[in-house]
Every structure is written in C-alpha cells, then in structure tokens.
Assembly symmetry: C2
Homo-oligomer: 397 residues x 2
C-alpha cells in the first residue's frame, strides 16, 4: 500500500545506512572494540568547544520567542549577512544576505535547489563515482541523473564523455568538492575545463546550465591543497554547504545555499528557493542552529585528527598491497577491491569485522569506500584485520 | 529558468507568509506598537523555562559526538521510546519506539508520510477550510487534494459530500485537529462518523484509506474540551505532531509521526517513512531538539495567556458586530467578513493596520483568520481599529 516508487527505494535503500544499522548490531554482538565500522561519514571528532559554549550563551541571552520562533523561510537576516561577509573575506567574493538561503544541511539544500530548478525529465549531470543519494534527490522531482563515466585512477573528470552527455535537457551539473567517495579535490584546472565546456554548451543550446557545487567537505583538506570557489570560474554557479563535517554537527541539520546575484534569473531562483524551503516541509533551517553558526564562523574542526588517520590508513593499506586513491580531502579513502565484484569483497571483509561500503552504490565498480572518521585506535587495530584480508587475496604473504 | 511548477507556486505563494513579511515592513514604517499583525501562527508565548534549562543541561552533560551526530533516520531510539510511553500514559495507547518517526516539525512529517504513501494521481481528501499548505504538500508528490465542501457556521464535516468524494483513488484523508483556521475541535462523534464512512468505503473498494491526523494544536484547547486520539477510532490512522506550538518551538522544526502497528502494511509504511525522511533531505530531525523533547514531555505552554486573548478578542469582535466562530482550540479566530470578497475586506482592514488572512487561502470564501498568538496588549489596542472597521461597514455606529 506504500507508493510504487517507494517500494523500489525501500528495497534498494542506502547500503551505507544499512551498514550503519548493521554495525550497531555487530558492536552489540562482538563488542564495539572488535568491530571496525568504516561505513558512515559520521564525524568522530567532537564539535569545537565553542559550539556547546555558544549554545549555552545563546539560550541564556537571546529573546526566547525570537530564538525559537519562525523567521523568513530563507533564514535569519543577521545570520545570512554574517555568512555572506565571512565568505567574502575568505574567498574574495561579493555576496550579501540576499544570496544566502539557510538550509536543513546540504541534503536539504540540494532538495531545495532541485525543487527550484527541475521540471520532469530534465537532466542533472554528475561524475562517477558520486554520492549515491544524488540519484534520489534528482528523482524526487522526476528528473534524471546522467552519470559521466569514471576515470580511474586519478578520477579527473572525463571531459569528452561529459561534453557528449550535455543536452538541451541538461538543467544542472552537480560536483562534489572535495569528493565523496574518492577523497580527491577538483582542482582549479579541472573546474576551468568544466566551465569552458558549459559555456560552450550554453551558447550552443541557448539554455542556462547551472553548476551546483556540493561542498560539505570544503574545510577538510590536507597538505595545503586549495579547493577553488566555483562561483569565480563559472557565472551560473550555485553552492551548497553544510556544517555537518566542518563543525561536526551532522545530526543538527544546518547548512546554506549560495545563490549569487550574477546567475541567470537570480530573482526567480532566490524567491523559488524560499518557497521550496517552505513547501518541501523544511519551513526553515533549525533556528537555534542558525544563530549558533553566526557565532562559530571562524571555528575549525580538529583536522589533524583526520589527517593522522588518513596517513596511517593510506600507508597501512599500501603495505598490505591494496591499491588506493590518495585522499586529498574529506575523510574517505577509495580503495580498489582485489576482485571485480566489490559487493562480494565487502562481504568477505565483514568476516574480519571490517565494514566497508561497496563502490557500486557510488556508480563505480571494483572499489570500496573507507570512511576514516573513526578513532585512531580503531584504525590502528583494524590493520590486523586488513592484513588478514590482504593475505586471503594473496596480496601479501 | 526555474521549474514550471515553481513559477505558479512563487506567484501564488503563501498569502500568510507574504503578510508576515509585509507586517515586518509595516512595523518598521509605523512602529511595531501601531501595527496589529494577526497573520502568522508564530507563538508569542515564550518556550517554558525548562526548554532553555534543559538545552544547557544537555550540551553540558551529553557526549557531544552522540548529541550532534547522525542517528537512525527515524530518530534516537531513547527519544522515540520516551514519546511512545508518554502517549501511552496520556491516551491509554499501546505504542512502542517502533511506532514513532521523529520529523522536522509537522510540515516535515506530512511530507514524509505523503512521500511514503502517494503515487501520482492518488487523491488525498481534506475538509474546507484547511491549512493552505496541504495543497502544496500533496502536489509535491503529484497527487491531488480533494476538498470536502465547508459547512458553516459550525464547520462540522459535510458527511454526505465527504462520502461522495471518496473514490478508488483515495489514498488518505487529512484532518487537522484542533483546526487551523477555524479553531474548532473535531469531536468524538464527528470522528466516529468519519471513521464509519471510511470503513464502509475501504470495504467497498477493497483499498486501504489512511486517516492522517495533523495535530500541532493538540495541547491548545480551552474550556476543558477533549481532543479525541484518532488511532482509537479508526485502525488505519497515522498521527502527525509538532512541538512548534505546544512548546513554542516553531523555528526549531521538531515533531514526530505515530505509525501504529495496527495499520495495513505497517512494516512497509514504517520502513518507507525512514527512507523518505532521508531522501527528502531531512536525513533526521534535529538531534539536539530530539534530546530536548525527551526531557520536556511533561512541559506545558502558558495556555492561559492564549485563553485570555481568545476571550477578549471573541467578545470584542462580537461587540463590534462581527460574526465569529467561537474558538475551542489552537490560537485562531475565524471571522465572517461583512462582504463576500474576503481579499477586499483584508485590504480595507490593512488601512487600519490590521493584518488578517483572507480565508480564500484556506479554501473558503467570505471569512478571515485572525491569529491571536500576540500580546494581550496588542489585542486590547487593536480593538479601536476593529471598531473603526466595523463602523466602516455599518455594523455599529
């Protein structure tokens, strides 16, 4: 009696989430310390102390009716203004409050912008591998996700395939930078190539193609890599951001969209994003979290903890003979499975209490994603299990 | 370049929200004390002190990684368990954690259950007048809202029209109890009649018709009226709840769905609701607010403040010669416009700085909604304006 569309969705429901639930069960069975759960991108680094300190300060000082009350659907004006100013300072931009829509995390933001832009049968292009939920978000509005072929081992976009797949139906192109699941960063040169192809195609078809940059991992970069701010490279860019990872607040559902004045039909897009926020049932981003963000714009997560994990895991897996993409950002390591069937490999890994996510759910075969937002100790102790797994496949003796 | 559907939605966007924005502007122009903004259901009663006290306690005592982190998409198990137990105690029910899905307010909950149940062209029946957003929520899933004719002045459902409008396409019936915008309560006898018609029609068509009760105003009742708990009257009932009004937390976006084990296809509906929560972009209800609710289950809003407003406004408007529905719950008063065209009447009222909402946006003509969740002083001072308005229409001298 549930909707026909949901029948399929429930059956094929997120492998990642299923594993998260299974991990909790396994932890109960074998003891949490004996299960190496690398499935979910749930930060293990606590929120900066300033988060909890400011929550206390805000509830003690702010007018309760305002703090917990309705505001404009796009969010508190003072918060949006502060975010715009902070982005201007960091990236040399020219944003105002009228360019910011507060959202229920990045997932909420993407649904809002897709509701805003997409007609049925429109196409959204993304690059494999990609965060599996994108398919659902696009499908929510009866549009189609068109996937550009993966380009291992660097996973630089396949520009030829990208250009081939742009059509008159292409309403948006979605990039995730730094990338989940590969951990790579889309460099300035890559973005420039994407932008120039888009400019060309916009002219060819006389359409507007919006480039949507999903950036929950923007602050999680290692080794001084720079994540380009895409609005500077392509006029029709919209940015989705979330504090889930940068402030370790994934459960709180707080983020924003940047809708620059320079984009085609800015007025309509901004107005529609506000309406979409309301009618999709978000109404507005959680109010206390909005006010919190205003106080925490300069706070940073403990990036060194993730970096330590990253190095230990990457080096450890290489010693085991596994072929890995070197992670430059986010907290994911993308590893080649020693057999073609990544789901089978994930099953075998589970025998060693290693919970990995098969890359099939990201639109690529033959890889697994390892989320290293876990304690260093977990990584250290998981090495024995990884070594046994490598031995099983004859990668080491 | 925005989606075709959104073009219409932006144009016809919420009259209530437009008035809320206009009210803010008028307050700047004329001074807040000279504008009588009865447009939005934004509680003026502050959240109980226990809300802010518990927020402080929770952030100081709970593990930060758990508190602000991801949990199952349906919400924290301990919170859901506590809500189930509290409902069992209050209404003599038999619920468990597995019957509760935490949602981003009632608006989020309705979108989740509609995503769960509705196929394109399915029908959802509701009774006029109804909360205007229902139309958008149903339309989000390409289903149609079918509206039962209003039955003034009591607004008891028109059972004959209701029965006539149920078809094989009817997937759900949506009631709002206590009702926005009329302030009336659907009594036990009304619910029993609705239930018996639904039972009959389910048999006739061999379908499941879910009764969805949207109950954000459940705790706001006056004069000892009782709001029946609908799961006890009709097996296929699903309840949507929100703490927006009962704890004055509308900006925080926290509520839940009750999905009883007794409903048809319970397992599928519950599983799909979890998936819908995720893929619609909510992911989960805000985590700190979930934990807060667990500590505030027995907290109550200052109902006496609203009651005082209710009596003053109802009596004052009657003295002015306006015809009013006596409000039994929520914080809305439904008043007959002295002319047929309620939008025109609202325009005239604005000349007196009275911001009212035309009932056309609730699917009924010739009425206005007055949200009396404002200060008593505002109501007191608005009486002069209402009197002038009544004089203009010759209701009093």
């Amino acid at each position: 009696m549930i909707s026909k569309k949901m029948v399929g969705l429930v059956k094929g429901s997120s492998v990642i989430r299923a594993m998260f639930e299974e991990g909790k069960k396994m932890a109960q069975m074998y003891g949490a310390e004996n299960v190496f759960d690398f499935s979910l991108g749930n930060p293990n680094v606590p929120a900066p102390q300033a988060v909890n300190d400011n929550i206390v300060k805000i509830v003690q000082e702010e007018n309760s009716v305002v703090l917990h009350g309705y505001m404009s659907n796009v969010g508190f004006e003072d918060v949006r203004d502060a975010i715009a100013k902070s982005l201007n300072k960091r990236f040399d931009l020219d944003l105002e409050a009228k360019n910011i829509v507060m959202t229920v995390g990045a997932a909420g933001g993407l649904n809002v912008i897709f509701k805003t832009l997409l007609d049925p049968n429109d196409e959204v292009i993304t690059f494999a591998p990609f965060f599996g939920e994108y398919k659902n978000y696009v499908s929510n509005f009866d549009a189609n996700l068109v996937v550009v072929n993966p380009n291992p081992p660097t996973f630089e976009p396949d520009y030829v395939d990208f250009e081939k797949k742009i059509s008159e139906k292409t309403k948006a192109v979605l990039v995730n930078n730094p990338n989940n699941p590969t951990g790579i960063i889309y460099k300035k040169e890559w973005i420039e190539k994407i932008a120039s192809i888009l400019e060309k195609k916009q002219k060819e078809y006389g359409t507007s193609i919006y480039l949507i940059s999903d950036e929950p991992y923007r602050e999680l970069v290692y080794g001084g890599e720079e994540v380009p701010y895409l609005t500077k490279y392509y006029r029709n860019t919209i940015v989705g951001y979330s504090y889930s990872k940068s402030l370790s607040l994934p459960g709180e559902r707080i983020g924003y969209l940047v809708i620059p004045t320079q984009i085609d039909d800015y007025e309509d897009v901004f107005a529609a994003a506000g309406v979409a926020t309301r009618i999709l049932g978000f109404v507005n981003a959680p109010s206390l979290q909005q006010k919190l963000i205003k106080e925490c714009l300069d706070e940073k997560t403990n990036i060194e903890a993730y970096n330590k994990n990253r190095i230990r895991l990457y080096e450890g897996l290489q010693e085991c003979g596994f072929e890995c993409v070197k992670p430059e950002g986010a907290f994911y390591l993308f590893m080649k499975a020693p057999i073609e069937d990544d789901s089978e490999f994930v099953k075998v890994a589970k025998e060693y209490n290693l919970l990995l996510v098969p890359a099939s759910s990201f639109g690529v075969k033959g890889y697994v994603r390892i989320a290293y937002c876990v304690s260093y100790d977990t990584i250290e102790r998981s090495m024995t299990a990884f070594r046994k797994l490598a031995q099983r496949y004859g990668l080491i003796k």
